[in-house]
C-alpha cells in the first residue's frame, strides 16, 4: 500500500471486501430465481471485465490507444474452438486418424495456451507500431483487428480451418474434474444451473485479472508504463527501454483477451467472426474510458455498466413499440440511450465515472501552507 492511502479507506477495507465477496457469491443464486438470462448477463459482464482490465493495461497504463483489442479475444476463442470441437477432425483426415475420439483438448492447458498465443499476437501487433502514437496507432490497431476478423471469415478455403462465416459449433464446455459445467448440478438442496457454474469460473478469473492488473500497476513495470504514457522522451532519458516495455504491455493485455476469448468459446459452445467486429473493440475502449481510464474499480464499473445496461434496457423498453406505434423499438432505444449516456459522462465526468482519486491537489495545498 502506498502511504497516501486515506486512513478511513484502510480501516473500512477488510469489511467492505468481505461484504463485496458475499454479494458476488450470492448474486447468481438471486439472479437464477429470475431466470437464467440474468445469470448469463452476469457471466457476460465478467467476461467483459476481464477484457476491459486487459485493455486497461495497454490504454490506461501505457497510454497506447488500441482499437483492435477484440482480435486477441478472437485468437483465444478460435484456439479453444479448434482444439475442443470436431471442426479439425472433420476436415483433416490425418487428424481424424490420429484422434479417433476427437481432439477434446483439456481446458486447463488450452486456456493458458490461449493466453500465450494471444500474447504472441499482441507482441506481433506491437512490433510494427512501436513508433506510432495516438491517432496513428489507433488506426493501425484498428486495421489489425479487422485483419484477424477477415481471416477468420475467409479461412474456410483452401483448407477449411475456421469454417468461415458459418462459425464453429459443438465446442466442449468446461469440465472441472468430473463436474461438467454445461449441465445443471444438484448440490444438496441447491440446484446450480450451468450458467451459475460458469459464473463462478469467470468470477475466479476476473478476480485473478484484478489481482494481476493491480499488482502490475503498483510495480516497477507499471510505473515504467505510466512514465511512457506521460512522456516517452523523458521516460527514455530515465533509462527505460520503451520498446521492450511497450511490447510487454501489448503482450500482457493481449493475454487477458486470449483468456477471455477461450472462456467465451467454452461458454457459448459456438464462435463465429460476427462476435469479433470492430464494434466490440470500440465497446471495450468505451468501457475503459467511461469507467475511469487506468483505475481498476472504474474500469470494472464501466465494463459492468456497458454490458448490463443494454440488456436491462431491453427488458425495460418492451412496452415502447406499442407506445410509439412501432416506430421506436427496443434496439433503437438501447443504442440511443447508450450514446446519450456516453456523451453525458464525457461532458460531466470527462475523467470517467470512477476516476483515480485526485489526492494530489489536497497535498499540494498542504505543502504550499508549509513551505
Amino acid at each position: 500500500m502506498t502511504p497516501s492511502t486515506p486512513f478511513l479507506k484502510r480501516c473500512g477495507r477488510p469489511f467492505l471486501l468481505v461484504l463485496l465477496g458475499l454479494v458476488l457469491l450470492l448474486l447468481p443464486f438471486v439472479l437464477q430465481s429470475f431466470g437464467n438470462a440474468w445469470v448469463r448477463m452476469a457471466d457476460n459482464c465478467l467476461l467483459y471485465v476481464i477484457l476491459a482490465l486487459g485493455l486497461n493495461i495497454v490504454v490506461g497504463y501505457a497510454g497506447l490507444l488500441d482499437l483492435g483489442f477484440v482480435a486477441f479475444y478472437a485468437v483465444g476463442a478460435y484456439l479453444f474452438a479448434l482444439l475442443s470441437s470436431p471442426q479439425l477432425t472433420d476436415n483433416f483426415d490425418a487428424l481424424a486418424a490420429a484422434f479417433p475420439n476427437g481432439l477434446h483438448a483439456a481446458w486447463w492447458w488450452v486456456v493458458p495456451l490461449a493466453a500465450l498465443l494471444a500474447a504472441l499476437a499482441g507482441a506481433l501487433l506491437g512490433a510494427p507500431t512501436l513508433k506510432l502514437r495516438g491517432d496513428y496507432l489507433a488506426i493501425v490497431t484498428l486495421g489489425f483487428g479487422e485483419i484477424v476478423r477477415i481471416f477468420m471469415n475467409n479461412l474456410d478455403q483452401p483448407y477449411n480451418l475456421t469454417n468461415g462465416p458459418k462459425g464453429i459449433g459443438q465446442i466442449d464446455g468446461l469440465e472441472i474434474g468430473s463436474l461438467s459445467l454445461a449441465k445443471t448440478t444438484q448440490w444438496g438442496p441447491l440446484e446450480i444451473h450451468s450458467v451459475t457454474l460458469y459464473y463462478f469460473v469467470f468470477l475466479a478469473l476476473a478476480l485473478l485479472a484484478v489481482v494481476v492488473g493491480s499488482r502490475l500497476q503498483n510495480s516497477r513495470v507499471g510505473r515504467a508504463w505510466m512514465a511512457i504514457r506521460e512522456d516517452e522522451i523523458a521516460a527514455k532519458a530515465m533509462g527505460l527501454n520503451t520498446r521492450n516495455l511497450k511490447l510487454l504491455a501489448f503482450a500482457t493485455a493481449a493475454s487477458f483477451g486470449g483468456v477471455a476469448g477461450a472462456l467465451f468459446a467454452a461458454f457459448q459452445g459456438f464462435v463465429s467472426p460476427e462476435s469479433f467486429s470492430l464494434m466490440e473493440s470500440v465497446m471495450i475502449v468505451a468501457m475503459v474510458v467511461l469507467g475511469g481510464i487506468g483505475h481498476i474499480p472504474g474500469v470494472i464499473l464501466g465494463a459492468v455498466l456497458l454490458t448490463a445496461l443494454p440488456e436491462v434496457l431491453r427488458y425495460v423498453s418492451t412496452s415502447l413499440p406499442a407506445l410509439t406505434g412501432g416506430r421506436l423499438d427496443a434496439s433503437i432505444l438501447r443504442q440511443l440511450l447508450i450514446a446519450l449516456a456516453i456523451i453525458g459522462v464525457m461532458l460531466w465526468r470527462p475523467r470517467g465515472l470512477w476516476p483515480a482519486p485526485e489526492h494530489g491537489k489536497a497535498m499540494a495545498n498542504k505543502g504550499a501552507v508549509n513551505g
Binding site: 502490475l216 494530489g360 499540494a364
Partner: protein
Amino acid sequence: MGESTLFKVEGASKRFGGLQALSDVNLTIQSGQVVGLIGPNGAGKTTFFNVITGLVPADSGKFELAGRPYEPSAVHQVAKAGIARTFQNIRLFADMTALENVMVGRHVRTHSGFWGAVLRTSRFKQEEAQITEMALAWLNYVGLGALASARARTLSYGDQRRLEIARALATDPFLLALDEPAAGMNGTEKRELRDLIERIRNDGKTVLLIEHDVKLVMGLCDQVTVLDYGKLIASGSPAQVQADPLVMAAYLGTASAKKTKTPSAPSAPSEPEAAAATETSMGGAHG
C-alpha cells in the same frame, strides 16, 4: 575532489540539413566539477546535450564516460551508462506523484520484472521498499519531501525543476546534465537552485550545466565552455572565459564584421549580454 577525467568528447559533429549545428566539439570534464556550457541563442548547446545523451545521433565523435567509451546511440543506454539529464522545457510525468516520478528514476538501477510484480516475490518486495526509500531520500534532498504524494503537474514551477533534478539524481548518474535549469526562475528560486547545485557538487557529483544566465554560470562553475555557431570558442575558468576576446565578440559583437551569415540566423552577436540571458527559446533546440 578527484582530478580524474570523468567525461570526454572528441570531435563531436552534427549537421541538420544545411545547418552545421556542431562542428568538431571537444570537451573534457573532470570528476567532481560543475562545468558550464554557455553560448548565444542557436549556438548548439542543446544540440550538444542531445548528442551526448543519445537523443539525436551524432555524425561523428568519440565519447568516453568514467574511463569507458560509450556510444550515444540509444537514449536509454546512455542513462544506464551514467548520464542523467533534465530538459529545457520541463518533462515530468505530469499525472504521477512526485514520489512516483523519482521512483521511475530508480528503474534503470533495479531489476524486478513482470513475474516479480505479479507473484510479489520477497525479492520484489525488498526491491520495491528500497526504491521507495531511496526515492523519498532524493525528494528530501531537493527539499520536496513534504510534497511526495502531490501530482507532478500540481507543483510550482521551481518545485517541478527540482523534482526533475531529483528524478535524474535517482538514476545514480556519474554526470548530471542540466539543460537551462534556471530558465524562467525568479531571483529567489535561482538562489535556491544555485545552493542545490553546489550541494550536489559537494556530495561528489559532476554536473554539466547549460545556462543562459551568465551570472549564475560564472558564480557556480569550475570550468566554463563557450559554444558559438556550433564551434567551441573558449574553455577554461570563469575568469579566463570572461576575458576571452572571442567570447566578448560572440556575445557583444566586434567592430570588424565577422563571417557573413544568413539573414535568418539569430542576431545574438549584436545584442548585449543581458539579452542573451533572457529565456527566449533557442533556435537549435530540438529537445
